[in-house]
Symmetry: C2
């Protein structure tokens, strides 16, 4: 096999499997060549990935020495992804009145939510989470891509207990946007005790549902290590929680003229 083919295949496999470790031996066996050639190939792949500005290669040493691809969106690419998100969100036809915004289509558009997930994956790269958690439904897309990029599983909290979840933990929480008491439920198998959890959600106004997730995590002795929210309405004031990272900030105190801005902290 030609060197260019090997470089192409290594790039392809690493790109498809972010944050997963591959030993030099795996590639050496795949291509039937010496580890030293693979080591040279990876040097070239590293240069290419660096130049692409969407991540870097991390080498792991020791007997199982190898390589992993860490997605790490550049400042410029993050600005473009968030600009696309902001533009999608700002479309006046989304405004339903009374502060409600139609976002289902964009929250399940792979191109848009994968861009948002790249920004979260960069922000929470060193949080050492071992699970991503969201509550159904519209945050599932961005949470799933974030989990994929960080090579983590995702657990989805439901709004009612389902027979197919087996025994479950249920809690009640007050949702400000629905203006009522709501329920959250997840299987007892859903979160391992002691997990380090990254919370990802699509929208927050009062913070009630994130507070609900935090209470749920306590039931599992699980530890929150970060909270990312795509759109936070009403700025940082009057929230039930304090530690969260928005991508976009929606100021809709003037309901006729909502203003949406990119969170500048995301552009680093």
């Amino acid at each position: 096999m030609k060197k260019t083919q090997r470089i192409c295949i290594i790039t392809h496999i690493l790109t498809e499997n972010p944050n997963r470790d591959y030993s030099l031996g795996t590639f050496a066996e795949m291509f039937g060549c010496a580890k030293s050639s693979i080591s040279d190939d990876i040097k070239l792949v590293r240069e290419g990935i660096d130049a692409a500005g969407r991540g870097y290669l991390e080498t792991t040493s020791g007997a199982k020495g190898g390589v992993r691809y860490v997605p790490y969106i550049s400042r410029q690419a993050a600005a473009e992804a968030l600009e696309e998100l902001k533009n999608a969100f700002s479309d006046p036809s989304r405004m339903l009145g009374s502060g409600f915004v139609y976002t289902s289509d964009m929250m399940f558009n792979p191109k848009i939510v994968r861009g948002a997930a790249m920004v979260f994956a960069k922000r929470f790269a060193s949080a050492e989470a071992d699970l991503v958690v969201t509550v159904e439904t519209k945050g599932i897309g961005v949470a799933l891509f974030t989990a994929q990029l960080l090579n983590l599983p995702l657990a989805v909290i439901r709004h009612e207990s389902k027979v197919s979840e087996g025994s479950s933990i249920n809690i009640n929480y007050f949702s400000g946007s629905a203006d009522r008491l709501q329920q959250m439920s997840i299987s007892k198998k859903g979160i391992k005790p002691g997990s380090r959890v990254l919370i990802i959600d699509d929208f927050m106004r009062g913070g009630g549902s994130i507070l609900g997730i935090l209470n749920m995590l306590r039931e599992f002795d699980a530890q929150p290590v970060g909270t990312g929210v795509v759109v936070v309405a009403g700025g940082r004031e009057n929230k039930k929680i304090s530690d969260f990272v928005p991508l976009l900030i929606l100021d809709d105190r003037n309901r006729d003229k909502p203003v949406i801005e990119i969170n500048p902290e995301m552009l680093v």
Copy 2:
């Protein structure tokens, strides 16, 4: 920039953006080199992608002539992905009794559902869908990755109408597994009239919820062009619908000894 770097970057971009068209000009501009060099680079990328067995490059001709990466999982890789799915599903600790199986964790495990999505993307590559549709919640993972691989948007039907969906279409359907009448709801903005729709869901026993989706599509004058279901219980008999593609077939007529098999039609 070195040739190997260009090859690496082109591979990385195409892999991250399946089924999206890139003109030679885009890459020429990106690298500041002639289209003829890019054309040579792409020839080498094509050889590499072919050898990787996870897709191929399709060239588009004309003034906007360019290239796209079409994911196309090999027979062997499909067998491995479905074996992994089958093994995950067969874990005895998932069996909850009364025919219910705990699958939430695997249905939101990016590695597992992306493998399933690769098989669906291959199966429905020529269906010419312009939208993927699922019904919440557990099918969203595999539906989202299928949509990403086919470069399509995803629409998620909800179980109740939400204020943030604006005006919606609602239908009732009979769910055999829940043994009751249920509701489906989606925003009127959710599905464009005349869309060609690929339906993806996680589990089917009687086919009631897929039949519900089909009825919903009729409300939008949308046309189903394929239905993929991760696990179909009880074989092909006694279903409310006839046209569907299972990945796994669960025979649990003997509740104490459920048997799960890979659908052999998927291994072509």
